[in-house]
Amino acid sequence: MRVAPVVIVLLVVVAWEVTERLASAAHPAIPAPLTIASTFQTSAMVLWLNLQPTLFEAGLGFLYGSLAGVGLATLLFAWRTGQAALFKVVVTIHSIPLLAVAPLLVIWFGVGSTPVIILAALACFFPTTVNVHQGLQAVDPANLELMRVLHARAPAVFMHVRLPAALPYLLAALKIGAPSAVLGATIGEWLGSRGLGYLMFSSMVNYQPPLLWATMLLSATLSVAGFSLFQLLERRLAGWHDSVRATDEEAA
């Protein structure tokens, strides 16, 4: 069962390669898979040098965005009176297109890492905010009643009951957030002078379709790697959660 997706991808790639070779006037904007593969070799240095800033900026933006998400979720949870207003602010910030914010950030902070990191953070904080907020409330009411009967201290209840209950929600959000942070960083780099986003932009301007494709694949790989990392962590740390256990049993 698990072989099927790999086989399908392979078939598509082979068909693509064959079509490119048979077609007399293959479109240069759609390079053959082997051409792209060789680009990885010939442009290895360029790709590597531009991967580093993206990795750094997306990683840091992801960290800040996720921390902001957890913080906002806690604030939303704890501050009942301001909850509705704060949530509207959060949704509004999330609704502003990254492409509109990017030039503004460059004007404010200048070309460099800072606007890119902020864009990555903006791209990924929302799912974490919403999910963790939901997770903090995903506690059996009977459990909270038990805590009241025990005259438990509120901070301890938060630490030992609410936060662990929110962990699967957090990890699910981070899984979505990691690729979003990569996307946010690449958008920011369009306006910069380095990074995978910059490389995409420059290969468009310089008309280098194979390099553009290679960069695209590299950035996709980065996103998938981020997703997989948190999927792994989810199985490790939240294996007790029904949703995680259900998928594991399906896979087994």
């Binding site: 009643e145 025990l150 438990a152 959660h241 256990r245």
Partner: protein, 262 residues
């Protein structure tokens, strides 16, 4: 002094609920004294306010009228003194904690003073017969085993009053009987006051010193029956003719209370 004092005293307690702007009386004029060390069973039809009564005693809700005393003070003072141990129908264990850490949970959430008097979680594990399952995960346990964990957790801070809200309601008949015997053994060792809410006449008669029958909404005390059987009560009692007589008497009270005069 202490001997005179009641473990629990309810004086003309009423409790109303607002449902869609309509006031519904859940409990009406309940007066009840429970002695220290007494085992009282509350029985009645669904929706007669049995659980509400338990929650009033625990101070989780306030009475609409009347007074509730626990060990001479208010329910919230009793909670501050950690007098209560509570077991619900659902064991409400934390799935990310293993068995022993679930029993230990109260230690993580209360202050130092309460922690000092706590029992050894391992001894409690042994008491409820789960010694081999110390590190087991919650989902690996059967319903009966989970409820044992909940009972051990309820005993951790040495409560003087056990509040049992249909603790075995979700279990099958055989497991339920086993759990009843376990509960009696544990209760005999600890000598706590116990209030048990149940649907089962047999369970009430087998476990309790006194069975209180509540009428349907609004819940009133319809009858009280003292159960004369000696302790320790052994499984043989469940087959004794005197047991059936008592159970039949309580069933008759329950039926009489449930029938609504037209």
């Amino acid at each position: 002094m202490v001997g005179d004092q009641k473990a629990i005293a309810l004086e003309h307690v009423c409790r109303n609920f607002e449902v869609e702007n309509e006031r519904i009386a859940a409990l009406d004029d309940i007066s009840l004294d429970v002695r220290h060390g007494e085992f009282v069973a509350l029985i009645g039809p669904s929706g007669c306010g049995k659980s509400t009564l338990l929650r009033l005693i625990a101070g989780l809700i306030e009475p609409s009228a009347g007074r509730v005393y626990v060990d001479g003070g208010t329910p919230s003072q009793a909670r501050e003194r950690r007098l209560f141990g509570m077991v619900f129908q659902d064991p409400v264990l934390l799935p990310w904690r293993n068995v022993i850490d679930n029993i230990r949970l109260p230690l993580d959430v209360v202050d130092h003073a309460a922690r000092r008097d706590a029992e050894d979680p391992r001894e409690l594990l042994d008491l409820v017969g789960l010694k081999k399952f110390e590190r087991a995960r919650v989902w690996q346990l059967s319903g009966g085993m989970r409820q044992r964990v909940a009972i051990a957790r309820a005993l951790l801070l040495r409560p003087r009053i056990l509040l049992l809200d249909e603790p075995f309601g979700a279990l099958d008949e055989i497991t339920r009987q086993q759990m009843n015997l376990e509960l009696l053994r544990i209760w005999a060792e600890r000598r706590t006051t116990a209030i048990l809410v149940t649907h089962s006449v047999a369970e009430a008669v087998f476990l309790a010193d006194r069975v209180i029958v509540l009428s349907p909404r609004p819940g009133r005390i319809a009858s009280q029956t003292c159960i004369p059987f000696d302790r320790p009560r052994l499984p043989e009692l469940l087959r004794a003719p005197s047991f059936f007589e008592q159970a039949a008497a309580v069933s008759a009270e329950l039926l009489a209370a449930t029938e609504t005069p037209i």
